[in-house]
Subunit: 243 residues, 2 copies
């Protein structure tokens, strides 16, 4: 499993992913699931993946044009004119990778699937974000649905639904995501630290903030512990049920 | 879907279930999922169900011996000597009902499944609780796993994990469950009010408290609204992330 969230704020985009990958509980390791492509001053694209690791690694390699020697690479993701076209490229590539794996065996339709969140901004357009499905199609964030989650989405959703505010600062949005990730980590072994965080400010066309939150990150530990205490206090402040 | 939770406290048991049943989003209604059998002063057994409605209704009817005329009924669930035997009876009956439905068609193994939480106390034994699987086997609550959830369990789990305390009062435990149910209702359309609540105090062999929480229940609405505000305050109290 995996947990990734992409938020659209009024002044930018925020991405956060875990890094745990596993094939059974006795075979797990850490792998990056958050990737960026940048042409400074012109575009910044961030992509997060959930699903079969062979599929997602192939996807990233193809988008990066790693099929060519380093000198010949000119990733098409850096040439698409709009974020919509980027989402189409990601969708088509994802679908192609899954079809390739499925072609060799039958009954594996579920096994090789993956889902992607891709967001960013290209000069001339607004910052936006898409959720791309294994079938190659995709949906865009809207005012009513201002964030996307992929992977193990349920444990961390209630706090997002209640805490999200389109005007919140990057600092607060990362704090909110940390709480959402913490709830998920506490409930599902297949989601784990370190986490990757990326903040993008509208019209900057470059990374505003990038951080890897390690297992011993002091602030994360404080937020995790603090949340338990704060929740207890919040709970105590509610009106009492009478029997 | 469904959401039911059973908690074991040091001084008793608490059960709460929603009542929504649906076959697609355009076909839903309300049905009881919490049932009790009582012999005053000797035993109180409570059972909650999640899964296929035909399966769970058959299960309850068989446990109630509704196959016999009212005058001839002597439900075996009221004759089993221990809660362990009650769980075995429930498991065997559940398995039998599912097998019956599956026998007529193939490829329906998933469709007719149901899961049950059954708990209570029989004189001579301690109060306890079991989760019964569609295969007929079951697990019992332990100190480490003091509660069971069935149905749409994920959204409401983080607050239970953090808020549960074996020494909490019945009042606080119902309040905790209301918060857990509220998080679930807000995230999944297939879980809905009214809710059924039942509290059992150890060695009382009768119902301590039973309530149906209707859609317009004032306290529930206050808790639901209050929780949004309290969560925001809890969130604000956490240490700040710095960029």
């Amino acid at each position: 499993m995996t947990y990734c969230v992409g938020l659209r704020l009024n002044h930018g985009l925020v991405f956060m992913s875990d890094t745990r990958t596993n094939a059974g509980v006795d075979n797990f390791s850490s792998t990056r699931k958050l990737f960026t492509w940048e042409t400074e001053g012109e575009r910044l694209i961030t992509l997060m993946t959930a699903g079969n690791l062979a599929t997602t690694q192939s996807l990233i390699s193809l988008l990066d044009e790693r099929s060519k020697t380093a000198a010949d690479r000119d990733p098409s993701i850096l040439r698409e004119p709009t974020m919509f076209q980027v989402a189409r490229l990601v969708g088509a590539t994802l679908k192609e990778v899954i079809s390739y794996s499925n072609a060799s065996v039958t009954g594996t339709e579920e096994k090789f699937r993956a889902t992607v969140i891709v967001g960013g901004q290209i000069k001339g357009g607004e910052p936006t974000m898409f959720m791309v499905y294994p079938e190659g199609n995709f949906v865009e964030v809207t005012t009513e649905t201002p964030f996307f989650q992929i992977g193990e989405t349920k444990y961390g959703k209630p706090i997002l639904v209640r805490g999200y505010d389109a005007d919140m600062t990057f600092e607060d949005s990362v704090k909110l995501l940390m709480v959402s990730f913490d709830s998920t980590v506490k409930s599902n072994l297949s989601v784990g630290l370190p986490f990757d965080i990326l903040c993008y400010e509208s019209d900057s066309f470059t990374v505003k903030h990038r951080k890897r939150v390690e297992v011993d990150d002091k602030l994360y530990l404080k937020i995790s512990e603090g949340w338990s205490i704060a929740l207890k206090e919040a709970f105590a402040s509610l009106p009492n049920y009478k029997i």
